[in-house]
Symmetry: C2
Subunit: 143 residues, 2 copies
């Protein structure tokens, strides 16, 4: 079981944007701090912008910044919006499902219940909670 | 987020073995019923045998059968043993992690807490619970 790189990078970018004192940062800044693909991160930031979590600052010293206070960005919400939760197992996507058990399967309901419990935990925390140790994060990211 | 095919097939195989009246079935029987790869299922059954969930019946009409009552096989336990839970995100595997936040990351703890909640739900159910509608399952599998 794993989260997609897209979700992983989205959460890391939001933590970076909360930890930094800079008014705006570039995809290159974030990618370099984490040692990850800048191209991939550009796509992640586009998605975060489309979702209203970050906004673009134009001009000299421009880049991206949080578009909402980090205390108003629940982790569960980010995961729900960046992760393909319809792919937990094949039958979560009725269009591509081939499992003959689907109409009578009791397991599917339990996996769905377990997924809900997973997201419920993450709904209890915001990006601000993930950056409560902001100084330690800034040091780790060499900000 | 998704479970591996290995876990998906392991759970399906255990449900099949609970739904069938046959004293033993072959990998081909199960693979055909679900329309999935027999080669893959052979590996899944090998793993289930190594874990003590199924056993081999030799001779004419041989194959595999459950080695434990299905009511004594918790779903959470099967998922823990067949799924690579150390790969939820990169930092869950310290050997391959490259994220500089790892020593100070608060997100990792919350993802771990969420994963625990997920497995806790599945620990509340056994393979027998997943086959409580045994007749409907048998019909869906054309047993």
């Amino acid at each position: 079981m794993r989260l997609s790189l897209h979700t992983d990078y989205a959460l890391r970018a939001l933590i970076y944007l909360t930890a930094t004192d800079a008014p705006a940062v570039t995809a290159g800044d974030i990618a370099t701090a984490y040692g990850i693909s800048k191209n991939h991160l550009v796509k992640v930031l586009q998605r975060l912008r489309a979702l209203g979590y970050v906004e673009t600052v134009r001009g000299r010293g421009g880049g991206v910044r949080l578009a909402r206070p980090p205390g108003e960005i629940p982790i569960g919400e980010v995961v729900r919006r960046t992760e393909d939760l319809g792919e937990m197992v094949e039958c979560f996507n009725p269009e591509t499902n081939t499992c003959p058990l689907m109409p009578v399967c009791l397991l599917q309901r339990r996996l769905d219940e377990a997924l809900k419990a997973y997201l419920d935990v993450l709904d209890g925390y915001t990006v601000a909670d993930m950056a409560a140790n902001r100084r330690a994060l800034a040091r780790a990211l060499r900000l």
